[in-house]
């Protein structure tokens, strides 16, 4: 064990406080009995009950979940395919460009991604709404999936797939029976990552949305401009819980799964 000096202790405490204190306050105040956000008036779950009767919030939540499910799933399929091409095909025309372009959207400012997608949809004369948001989310989360799956594929022993071919499985079946199950933890982690990224995206959604497709982050943002209400705190608490659970599952599945499949 390394010595844990007072200095380290203080800096860790401050660091974590800086990161998590706002979230803790938000969670605490979501259980506040008072309507005033700044005054503590005892414990209550009334804002959670009130949420259930707020149709606008429920609608927004439903849109968000559908967008996240759709985009995470499609992004996982496309991102996994991109990762396979990048890892397996050592040489093809435009490989360097393609692999660079996979990373670009990760560092691209959301405003630019959002704006360019908006311009694309306008140019194509797409009616903006649920599908444009879902497609936009697919487009930017796909890159994250590709990166996660790619790093797993790099350590994948290709002779496993060759053994499947050798034993009589055609290429597609060999992939689905052997490669996919072995890299599955990474694919699942990629899906979880895409899902949570889609869940809390505000900027790109705002650019690409249309009538009837308000996502939860957009709804929260517009409400906060009129003043913070305890209901918003309650919604955010639920979101924090969902994202935490998601990230925990992804890392646990990822770690145990990878240990099991890499050992052999």
């Amino acid at each position: 064990m390394r010595r844990f000096s007072t200095f380290n202790l203080v800096s860790v405490t401050f660091g974590f406080a800086f990161l998590y204190l706002p979230i803790v306050i938000l969670i605490i105040y979501s259980f506040n009995a008072s309507r005033l956000v700044t005054v503590w008036a005892g414990f209550s779950t009334q804002w959670y009950v009130a949420l259930l009767h707020d149709q606008a919030i429920l609608d927004a939540a439903w849109v968000t979940i559908r967008v996240a499910l759709f985009s995470a799933t499609v992004a996982t399929v496309l991102g996994t395919m991109a990762a396979i091409v990048l890892v397996r095909r050592r040489r093809f025309i435009g490989r360097t460009l393609f692999s660079g372009m996979i990373y670009a959207p990760i560092v691209m400012p959301d405003v630019i991604t959002g704006l360019s997608l908006l311009l694309l949809f306008v140019a194509l004369n797409f009616d903006r709404g649920f599908w444009t948001v879902a497609l936009a989310h697919t487009s930017f989360t796909m890159c994250f999936v590709a990166v996660v799956v790619q790093s797993r594929l790099l350590s994948f022993d290709l002779s496993l797939e060759e053994a499947a071919l050798d034993l009589g499985a055609p290429p597609f079946r060999a992939f689905f029976l052997v490669t996919l199950p072995v890299i599955f933890p990474a694919v699942a982690a990629g899906w979880m990552l895409a899902f949570t990224l889609s869940l809390d995206d505000l900027v790109i959604s705002s650019f690409t949305t249309g009538p009837g497709a308000t996502t939860l982050p957009m709804k929260i943002y517009s409400q906060v401009r009129l003043g913070v209400t305890p209901e918003i705190n309650a919604v955010c608490t639920i979101l924090v819980a969902l994202v935490t659970i998601g990230v925990l599952i992804a890392s646990v599945v990822g770690k145990t799964g990878m240990r099991a499949t890499e050992a052999a």
Binding site: D157, S159, L160, E162, A163, A164, L165, D166, L167, G168, A169, P170, P171, R173, A174, L177, V178, P181, V182, A260, T261, E262, A263, A264
Partner: protein, 381 residues
């Protein structure tokens, strides 16, 4: 047991029978990786039920040859034929061969049983038959108690047997083994070599094994192809390779050997005399007829040399004297390194047939090495 094995094997010599049909044929096959030539215009014929070993140092193209037969690499040039069919363009999953991978490549998410059943399922074999075949294979490799285990819960030796059972389950026309015993310790490896031979004979299959271990190749194979930098240097039985290597490379790769450079003095059928650069003369009965003055090498195995205190009788050929430089006692044999006057070290080994010798040879003594007319071979390369 070993004797019986030898007796069966001596009768199996399809390569000497002009009427026997080749089973696996590499016809003038090359493989380029970019500008690098891994296999260079090689022709190799393997017969049905033969246990054939590809032997050579790491990087000489053994695995590449095997992978071309399995279908993972297409030859850049030449053709590969199996059982009368050209394999060009046939994908790996349609080839009637199975491979045991160097890394074993066991499916980590499947139990031992499922691993073995994998290939049978791909063939659409009925469930009952699959179960029966899997049981049979488990029994064959003595892994019945481990049927439900995952590969990561097995020892190295057990994994190796699962890989073998999985590759044998489909009864392939040819079993390809890529350094199958490389990861095992010496004792287990030797035991497994004999098991492999037993399996191959009882199942009546053709085995093509890749190895860089010359003892392993000698133990298991009917014939060996010794490879060097993408080329096959010699194809012959273990005994022929050992007793009549075709080049210094082969002689040196298999076992240990003393090589002397020299020029041919006289040569007639059944008799060749060579003047070595060490100043002694060699006479052999087993050599091609060569013109006088031809540069050649004389290769002789350490155990074919006699070592004495006194100068042997005779006309002075096939003998040389030197000083004992080093003695290695290995139990069954004793190895003497003798330093000739030129400084060249020559190795002679003597069986320790008796427990005590009246006048043992010791360090720094002057000794005579001698050999008979048929002890060594003349090599031109």
């Amino acid at each position: 047991m070993k004797q019986a094995l030898g007796a069966v094997r001596r009768k199996f010599q399809p390569w000497n029978d002009p009427a026997s049909r080749p089973f696996i044929e590499f016809r003038n096959v090359s493989k380029q990786f970019g500008s690098f030539t891994a296999v260079d215009h090689q022709t190799l014929t393997v017969f049905e039920r033969e246990f054939h070993a590809l032997l050579g140092p790491s990087g000489c193209g053994k695995t590449t040859l095997l992978r071309m037969l399995a279908g993972f690499e297409e030859p850049s040039e030449g053709e590969i034929w199996l059982d009368g069919k050209n394999l060009a363009g046939v994908p790996p999953h349609r080839r009637p061969v199975n491979m045991m991978f160097q890394s074993y490549a066991l499916f980590p998410h499947m139990s031992v049983e499922k691993n073995i059943a994998f290939g049978l399922k791909q063939d659409g074999m009925p469930r009952g038959e699959i179960a029966a075949r899997v049981d049979e294979m488990l029994k064959l490799v003595k892994l019945e108690p481990f049927a439900k285990r995952r590969p990561d819960k097995l020892s190295g030796g057990q994994r190796q047997r699962v890989a073998l059972a999985r590759a044998l389950a489909k009864r392939p026309k040819v079993l390809l083994l890529d350094e199958p015993l490389g990861a095992l310790d010496k004792k287990l490896r030797e035991a497994t070599q004999f098991e492999l031979v037993g399996l191959q004979e009882s199942l009546g299959l053709t085995f093509l094994i890749v190895t860089h271990d010359q003892e392993e190749a000698m133990t298991v194979a009917d014939r060996i192809s010794v490879m060097k930098e993408g080329k096959i240097a010699q194809i012959a039985t273990p005994a022929e390779i050992y007793e009549a290597p075709s080049s210094r490379y082969v002689a040196d790769f298999i076992g240990s050997v003393n090589v002397f450079e020299g020029t041919v003095e006289s040569s007639s059928p059944g008799r060749l005399q060579l003047e070595t650069d060490q100043g002694f003369t060699v006479r052999t009965a087993t050599a091609p007829v060569l013109g006088a003055g031809t540069k050649a090498w004389f290769a002789v195995r350490p155990e074919k040399m006699r070592i004495d205190h006194d100068r042997p009788e005779g006309d002075g050929v096939n003998m040389v004297s030197g000083e004992v430089w080093d003695i290695g006692y290995l139990g069954d044999v004793t190895v003497y390194n003798v330093r000739l006057d030129s400084g060249k070290l020559v190795r002679a080994s003597v069986m320790n047939a008796q427990r005590a010798v009246a006048r043992p040879i010791s360090w720094e003594e002057r000794v005579w090495l001698s050999w008979s007319d048929d002890a060594g071979v003349i090599l031109l390369d």
